[in-house]
Amino acid sequence: METLITLLVGVLVMVGVYLLLSKEMLRVILGTAILSHAIHLLLLTMGGLKKGDVPLLHETAAEYTDALPQALILTAIVISFAVTAFLLVLAYRVYQESGRGPELRGHQDE
């Protein structure tokens, strides 16, 4: 299971990085979203998968899954949501100001 999820993480990173490198801002934002999905899965995998019971303490359980990565991921999900929301509004504002589609330009594109 861990190996399979790690492979999935690899695929997600690949897609995320490719989107990050594109010109259209919406693609870049999608790229960050997918990259954070990948990292969340990676964190969870590092703690081991399906190794015990849900980390809700009760007397019958012999072993619990690692709760620490879960706490970290919970924080990360919320932060990445904030970032995505901010970036989207940024793209919107760029479009409003420039009148052009929100794209990333360099010297060569001018």
Binding site: M1, T6, V11, V13, L44, I77, A85, G106
Partner: protein, 804 residues
């Protein structure tokens, strides 16, 4: 001995105080506050002279970075004493002179701050024992020199000269640091005194020659030795007191100090002798030949300083032979050369300092220092003329001035080389005195140029000064008069200087000889009809003839060899370096964020990739894997497919829906992986995110297909693929290794410690509550950002500053 430590720190403290004191002592009155510092230190140091002349030394140690073997160890011996006395003595005179030289309109406070900064740094160079401390002060002198040369920074020439001196001396300093580090690897100590004790260990090491060359490079750049002398003439853009102080009396002698200091470490080796003496003699010749053609008096003095520094350097080279000789008579001959070097060092500071001040007076009174526009000033400015006469004749090596004595010793030292049978150099032994003699002839010529072309002859028409010329105010004449009297006094009483000041310094250069006896030769004004006397007579005759017919052979200087080829080389190199740097920077700073992201990813790939390549144990341990069930496999498969499909989505709605698929699938995976809290949060967040994305339909135009070159797609594709592969490989490797036991068990005490049964919740709300609080803060800031981006608009009529 705390005086030695104070000597370094008092100037720095005073430098910090100058801006504040300047508020009360306005205008040039601040100079009276500044002059206390060198004067006080001079007196304090002078009190130590008698005990030093009995062989005493003073140390004071202050731990600085003990773990890195850096102690702030100050060390005062005879050699340091000469320099410290010059720094504080000439410093006092220069400050006094500058009080009347500078105009009230100048930034006087800034000037004195820099000057005190330099004073402290220079005292630090000569008084520190630790090489790293020495290096720091060494570079600090370069920096303060830079600031002082660029004092009139509105002039282009000042900025050019400042940059040039900084580049050359600091580059040399960095090489010197490399030499110091090599010495450290050889011996394991940064202490100068300990290094001298480990002479044999250093000489046997294979790094001996490289370390020696690097240290010499530092000394040569600082002391303006050929071919690094080109910065000194351009440094003359500094105010004249600075030229008199830094660029003739003290800073440029730091290289001499370094060579003298390292003589007991490196001397005795043929390479040391050849490099130091040949470079010195070449510099002497080149400087004096170039000085003759100058028309700006300060440029002439700059080249003459170059030449004189070369002369001192060559003497130190000859003096190093004492380490290679065993016969006591020869040893005495060669130590006399070092004695001559130190003697001339003092003499040069006196006569050159007075000459610079004279030129400053001319500049101040007449507004020009161009020789062609000067003349006949002897009757108008008799005192200035007298001082100029004393200084120039002393420099030319004429009696009854101190320069005569050291020039005689110089000739004697050069002639003594025929005894140096230890180094195979029969023909060279003849060449050395000849070069020295020719250099001295040219020295004689430019000295005559100073005296006769600016002070004698006809008063030029039209007269250069705006107002009728008259003698300088007495306050400006005090400092040059003091120096001029020293020139005479040293001639009549040279042995007092020799015994009390130079003797201890000789002992510092030749510590292995044990005592001062025999190291201090008796200086005689007349020592019979011997070779040096004839050489001096020859210099006078040849020099007079050549000066008389100067205009007939001056055309020689138009020959290509003597042009400013070195300067042209420096300028060309700088220009080319700037061009290359611009091209390189333009090449990768495209201004496109995409490219920068690509660089970041490439560096990530390169570093982690190289790290992986060097990693020996590729153990992929799959034994701990949990089993895969059918439904999980399907979810993962769906996720892979939908993520890849995002790349090929034609319209953004497809991409957004596919992203939603990913998010919700992850929520299901969280359920499978026993993380109910995550699943809940993920579902909520994913829903809101999708809604946000869908809002784009309303506000943003449809995205355009990426029209990119195929090569660009390949580049991006490769970067993406490589990142994915590296992340996968690293993640798999990590799972095969468990270096530390898990710490998560601790959190299972949650119910007892935090009073909660949901471990994830207790971590967020209790164990790591601060984290959560800051996370809320991040959300809050993002919310503010969203709000301001949507709501805040620029009012009409308000300028956009970024578009100006």
């Amino acid at each position: 001995m705390i005086t030695v430590l104070l000597a370094i720190f008092i100037p720095f403290i005073a430098a910090c105080l100058v801006p504040f004191v300047h508020k009360f002592l306005t205008g040039r009155k601040i100079g009276w506050f500044v002059i206390i510092v060198p004067l006080l230190l001079f007196i304090l140091l002078l009190r130590l002279v008698p005990s030093l002349s009995h062989g005493a030394t003073y140390t004071y140690s202050l731990p600085w970075i003990p773990s890195a073997d850096v102690y702030f160890l100050t060390y005062l011996d005879g050699l340091s004493m000469i320099f410290a006395l010059l720094i504080t003595g000439i410093g006092s005179l220069v400050v006094f002179y500058s009080i009347f030289y500078l105009s009230e309109r100048e930034a006087i406070g800034r000037f004195y701050t820099y000057l005190l900064l330099f004073m402290g740094a220079m005292l630090g160079v000569v008084l520190s024992d630790n090489l790293i401390v020495l290096y720091v002060f060494w570079e600090l002198t370069s920096i303060s020199s830079f600031l002082l040369i660029a004092f009139w920074f509105h002039r282009k020439q000042s900025r050019y000269g400042a940059k040039k001196s900084m580049l050359i001396t600091v580059t040399g300093g960095i090489f010197m640091l490399a030499g110091f580090l090599m010495l450290y690897t050889m011996t394991g100590t940064f202490s100068l005194r300990e290094l001298i004790g480990m002479r044999d260990i250093i000489a046997a090491d294979s790094l001996f020659i490289p370390a020696m060359l690097l240290v010499l490079l530092g000394a040569f750049t600082k002391s303006a030795q050929f071919p690094f002398h080109i910065w000194l003439p351009d440094a003359m853009e500094a105010p004249t007191p600075v030229s008199a102080y830094l660029h003739s009396a003290t800073m440029v002698k730091a290289g001499i100090y370094l060579v003298a200091r390292f003589t007991p470490v490196f001397a005795g080796h043929a390479v040391w002798f050849y490099i130091v003496s040949c470079v010195g003699l070449l510099t002497m010749l080149w400087g004096s030949v170039n000085a003759v053609k100058q028309t700006d008096l300060k440029a002439l003095l700059a080249f003459s300083t170059v030449s004189q520094l070369g002369m001192i350097m060559s003497l130190l080279g000859v003096g190093s032979l004492a380490f290679a000789s065993s016969e006591s008579s020869h040893v005495a001959l060669f130590t006399a050369a070092t004695f001559a070097a130190l003697f001339h060092l003092v003499n040069h500071s006196t006569f050159k300092g007075s000459l610079f001040m004279v030129v400053g007076i001319l500049d101040h009174q007449l507004g020009t220092r161009n020789i062609r526009r000067l003349g006949g000033l002897a009757t108008i400015m008799p005192i200035t003329f007298t001082i100029a006469l004393i200084g120039s004749f002393s420099m030319a090596g004429l009696p009854p001035f101190n320069g005569f004595l050291s020039k005689e010793l110089f000739f004697e030292a050069m002639l003594s080389l025929k005894n140096a049978n230890l180094l195979t150099m029969d023909s060279l032994a003849l060449l050395f005195p000849i070069v020295a003699w020719v250099g001295s002839v040219f020295t004689f010529i430019y000295c005559m140029v100073i005296v006769f072309q600016s002070f004698l002859g006809k008063v030029p028409e039209p007269f250069p000064g705006q107002r009728p010329a008259h003698e300088a105010p007495i306050q400006m004449l005090v400092a040059p008069i003091v120096l001029g009297s020293l020139v005479l006094l040293i001639f009549f009483f040279p042995n007092i200087l020799g015994t009390y000041i130079l003797g201890p310094a000789m002992l510092a250069v030749y510590p292995h000889l044990g005592n001062m006896e025999g190291l201090v030769p008796e200086i005689h004004v007349w020592h019979g009809w011997k070779a040096p006397v004839f050489m001096t007579l020859g210099v006078i005759i040849a020099g007079t003839l050549l000066y008389r017919y100067l205009r007939y052979w001056k055309g020689v200087y138009r020959l290509g060899v003597l042009q400013w080829t070195l300067d042209r080389f420096y300028n060309g190199t700088l220009l080319r370096m700037e061009r290359v740097a611009t091209r390189v920077t333009r090449g990768y700073m495209t201004g496109s964020v995409r490219d920068y992201v690509a660089y970041i990813m490439l560096i990530f790939i390169a570093f982690i990739g190289i790290g992986l390549a060097g990693f020996q144990q590729f153990v992929f341990d799959f034994s701990n894997d949990a089993p895969i069930e059918m439904n999980e496999g399907v979810i993962v498969f769906v996720m892979m497919c939908s993520s890849v499909a995002v790349l090929f989505a034609r319209s953004r709605i497809t991409a957004i829906i596919l992203n939603g698929v990913l998010g919700y699938s992850i929520a299901i995976l969280f359920v499978v992986f026993r993380a109910p809290d995550l699943a809940l949060t993920q579902i909520i967040v994913e829903t809101v995110t999708t809604v946000l994305f869908l809002l784009c339909f309303y506000f943003l135009p449809e995205w355009r297909a990426e029209h990119r070159a195929v090569s660009m797609r390949w580049r991006n594709g490769l970067i993406a693929a490589a990142s994915g592969v590296i992340v996968t490989v690293v993640a798999l490797l990590v799972q095969g290794h468990s270096l530390y036991p898990t710490i998560s068990i601790y959190y299972e005490t949650a119910s007892r410690i935090a009073g909660g049964l949901n471990v994830v919740n207790t971590i967020l709300g209790d164990f790591r509550a601060f984290d959560t609080m800051l996370e809320v803060l991040v959300l809050f800031i993002a919310g503010l950002g969203v709000f301001s981006l949507v709501k805040l608009r620029r009012k009409k009529g308000v300028d956009r500053p970024e578009e100006k």
